[in-house]
Symmetry: C2
Subunit: 96 residues, 2 copies
């Protein structure tokens, strides 16, 4: 969970997640969206997202297709929601 939040803290990785949120994309297509950095850099970002389990990888011949892992994304979302909810409870308790 902690690795997921750290992964999300990187703008480039958030952008990658947007790209593969709803559709599978091969690594080359993903890299093509980033003109400022090399394909290798993107491959490494994909590695970080994979380790955080935020994306799944599927092989198709020589290509590797990536897609956001909705389960893990949901878990991360829930973690953040919980964080805020707890905080708001503390606010409410103090208000009394």
């Amino acid at each position: 969970m902690d690795s997921a939040l750290k992964a999300l803290a990187e703008p480039r990785r958030r952008e990658i997640l947007r790209l593969v949120w709803s559709k599978e994309l091969p690594a080359a297509d993903i890299a093509a969206h980033f003109t400022e950095v090399t394909r290798s850099a993107i491959s490494q970002h994909l590695g970080v997202l994979r380790e955080a389990q935020l994306v799944t990888e599927r092989r198709d011949g020589t290509r590797r297709l990536y897609q956001a892992d909705q389960n893990e994304m949901a878990r991360l979302r829930q973690f953040l929601d919980q964080y805020w909810t707890d905080g708001l409870h503390r606010l409410r308790d103090v208000a009394e």
Copy 2:
């Protein structure tokens, strides 16, 4: 906004935010919660949170009282909500 997310990616800083979410605390009290690191380390974490505008600082004599900045916290929350909402829209559009 980006600095806020990066600030939140640090477990120690998330813990600090929880401490000052609903009440002002002097730096010493905050530091006292962390036995693994020095007071100086916590002071630096507070600096990061301050720069990300996630906490406000108020001076009272020689003490400095910190508290979570609800406005900025709300902005961050909204940013994350938007991120997920956009993603879910892409999912929905693909489903059609």
